[in-house]
């Protein structure tokens, strides 16, 4: 199996505060990794850092993505190369329609790979198919990007982007937060069915309920910027039963 992401000995800080400490993670093609951890354990840092957010300082370690040095790649290149982050809090942008945004994003990627860019009419056909999968209405496209969207609509819109961009590595940052059961079901089923067979998922979550829809190949427990334990579904049960404290070497007060 091809290696997709290889993080070794990664240490990251923000404002001189250590957030990830000698962190390791390896993701191969067609795997589903679940990362669980308490608030402030570094979960969101990991997802933003992988996507290239400028706030973080890499103190040491390496990240390889598709056998390339990820640290040297600009955020938009990471995207073109197939890294996709479904945001916990998708940003609102006024004056830019969802449709224009989607088409620009799609065409930028096509351009990067030397493929055909689509005009607004051609792109509509592609978008319509994906919209139906998520049970989204056409009017979604004419609204300004995420502006005034409900929590559920924003998350669906994230997955719509995923379907259109066809990424290799999908990071879901608390995709389940702020979602009702029905919306969660549609979103998770769509991801599970539609993702490219060679693609992999990193699911960052607090709640095990999302695991009703996915069969994780790996489960990791992240505490204080470090993976304390890796295993399978049995870890989830342990967390449910004993809480994160049971994984902590120095127990919290």
């Amino acid at each position: 199996m091809e290696n997709l992401l290889c993080i070794q000995n990664l240490t990251v800080s923000i404002d001189q505060k250590l957030i990830l400490n000698q962190f390791d993670l390896e993701v191969n093609e067609n795997e589903i990794h679940v990362i669980m951890g308490p608030n402030g354990s570094g979960k969101s840092t990991l997802s933003k850092l992988l996507a290239g957010h400028p706030s973080y300082r890499i103190e040491g370690g390496t990240i390889e993505f598709s056998k390339q040095n990820l640290i040297e790649m600009a955020p938009e290149i990471r995207s073109h190369e197939g890294l996709f982050l479904a945001f916990q809090y998708p940003i609102e942008i006024s004056g830019v329609t969802n449709y224009d945004f989607l088409r620009i994003a799609y065409n930028e990627k096509q351009k990067y790979w030397g493929l055909k860019e689509l005009d607004p009419i051609e792109f509509m056909q592609l978008t319509q198919i994906e919209l139906q999968k998520l049970k989204m209405k056409m009017e979604f496209l004419n609204r300004n990007l995420n502006e005034g969207f409900s929590g559920g609509e924003k998350k669906r819109n994230e997955i719509l982007q995923m379907l259109i961009l066809q990424p290799k590595l999908i990071i879901l940052d608390e995709i389940d937060s702020g979602l009702d059961v029905d919306a969660l079901k549609i979103i998770c089923e769509t991801i599970a069915q539609e993702r490219n067979a060679k693609s992999s998922l990193i699911i960052i979550t607090h709640y095990p309920r999302i695991l009703n829809y996915f069969q994780p190949t790996h489960v990791h427990v992240l505490i204080d910027g470090k993976i304390k334990k890796s295993g399978h579904l049995e870890l989830v049960e342990k967390i449910e039963k004993d809480g994160y404290d049971s994984f902590s070497e120095e127990k919290r007060k």
């Binding site: 400028p54 706030s55 982050l85 004056g95």
Partner: protein, 485 residues
């Protein structure tokens, strides 16, 4: 790609600094007057243009007024003193004989306009836009005149109008902006050399978009153009002006006057895309743009809309205004002003409500980058007779980078208690999180910034005529991107 990119904050400043595309200079022989402003110079201009006595007198009176007026000091602008005796007031491309058709225009000049993306060849032009091209002090060519004449529309240079329609010019010139209105209005009235003239007769909707393109080429000359548009009862037109200039390290002066008159039920939409040379990244050079634009809604139900996209000039001093006299008349001002480096803009509008049930709407979007200063200054005046008048103003500012300034000066003068006046103001910055989101979706930083800005300006762009809206958006993203074609 450098390693820093992932670790340091997004660097957007480099996105904003790119060369000026229209900065080339056309080498042509010119015929110009000696520098300075004197009664002899006025006389020479009048002689050169074979003007009727009333106009000669108009110039002399204006010159007298100008000498009594002072350079305006009430703005936020810091301006190096201008030596008005070191400016050439009349400069025209040298030509051997009178031009009868476009074929006789100096090919160098035609090439200049081609290079600016303005083809004066009627075959090649967008078929629904007529153009008057002004090069330094003189109008070079006006296209589609015959087609317009069929519907009774007069569209020509103001010099031509002075010769062919002196009564119209005499009646309306200076009727909206009097020469004593302000320092630059007086200066322009004394020395204006060319510009556009447009007359739409009763019950005619102008069949084409009308457009004037202004080009300053000469290093020492100022451009003082004058535009006069008259829309008779039940008529309508849409008009656009565009402006560029070569890149010099000296500042050049541009002081224009635009007068619009709308009679009963007439509609005038006046759009500007201003891209004069703005100076280099250290603030050297660029056009000083001092413009007085005013529209008179004299008739019932008349409407004047000003839409402007201001991206150029070292200094912009400009307040397109509406005098709302006719009952139920309305005025609109929609503006995008982008400043970068050391550009300074002090722009806005005046809405003077004189008649009953008059309405005005102001939508201003200022974007400041670099060390620039972007200031909205607007007056809404409701006089005691303007019963049941309404105004709505919205002034939004957008700051890019941390060294630029945005100011808003709304002046409200309300003398009638039945009036309804609303004002909204907002200031925003490019948020790092917005940029990050767009970058994560594979949209480059240049494109992301320009997407955010065009989103910010969208409400104004939708007011522009279609072709120009696209041009304006392109111009803005060019200004922001540095992807030079």
């Amino acid at each position: 790609m450098n390693e820093k990119k992932t670790q340091s904050r997004f660097e957007i400043q480099h996105v904003l600094n790119q060369p000026y595309k229209y900065g080339f200079e056309t080498k042509i022989e010119t015929e110009k007057f000696p520098v300075g402003i004197t009664e002899q110079i006025l006389d020479s201009i009048s002689n050169q243009k074979k003007e009727p006595p009333f106009l000669r007198q108009f110039r002399f009176n204006s010159f007298k007024k100008w000498k009594e007026l002072e350079f305006p000091k009430w703005t936020n602008l810091s301006i190096q003193p201008i030596d008005f005796n070191n400016i050439t007031y009349y400069s025209i491309p040298k030509q051997k004989k009178k031009l009868n058709s476009l074929k006789e225009v100096d090919p160098e000049i035609l090439k200049t306009f081609e290079q600016l993306g303005i083809s004066l060849d009627e075959q090649k032009r967008l078929t629904n836009v007529a153009i008057d091209a002004v090069f330094d002090s003189v109008s070079i060519a006006t296209t589609f005149q015959e087609k317009l004449a069929k519907s009774g529309v007069i569209f020509c240079s103001i010099s031509e109008a002075i010769q062919c329609y002196p009564n119209l010019v005499k009646k309306f010139l200076g009727s909206v902006v009097s020469p004593s209105d302000n320092f630059f209005a007086a200066l322009n009235s004394a020395v204006f050399t060319d510009g556009s003239f447009c007359y739409i007769p009763q019950n005619v909707d102008c069949p084409l978009e009308l457009s004037t393109y202004f080009r300053i080429n000469d290093k020492e000359s100022g451009q003082f153009e004058r535009t006069l548009i008259i829309a008779e009862k039940n008529s309508s037109l849409s008009y656009l002006e565009g402006c560029t200039a070569p890149q010099f390290s000296e500042n050049q002066l541009h002081a224009a006057i635009v007068e619009l008159i709308a009679f009963e039920n007439a509609r005038i939409q006046y759009s500007t895309v201003q891209n004069w040379y703005s100076g280099n990244e250290k603030g050297l050079g660029g056009i000083y743009n001092f413009v007085t634009k005013r529209g008179l809604c004299i008739g019932k139900n008349s409407k004047i809309s000003w839409t402007q996209v201001e991206t150029g000039s070292a200094i912009t001093w400009k307040y397109p205004s509406c005098l709302l006299v006719g009952e139920n008349s309305s005025g609109e001002f929609s503006s995008v002003a982008l400043t970068n480096n050391y550009q300074q803009a002090d722009t806005g509008t005046k809405m003077i409500h004189l008649g009953k049930k008059t309405k005005s709407k102001i939508l201003s979007k200022g974007i400041s980058c670099g060390f620039s200063q972007n200031c909205y200054r607007g007056l809404v005046k409701i006089t005691s007779n303007a019963f049941y008048s309404r105004n709505f103003s919205q002034c939004d500012s957008f700051l890019l980078g941390s060294n630029s300034t945005a100011c808003t000066y709304p002046y409200l003068e309300i003398r009638n208690s039945t009036a309804l006046v609303e004002h909204e103001a907002k200031i925003s910055k490019v948020s790092e999180e917005q940029l990050f989101y767009l970058l994560q979706r594979g949209i480059s930083i240049e494109k992301s910034v320009s997407l955010l800005i065009s989103g910010f300006c969208k409400d104004v762009f939708t007011k522009l005529p279609m072709e120009f809206a696209m041009e304006a958006e392109k111009l803005l993203s060019l200004k922001l991107q540095g992807t030079i074609g």
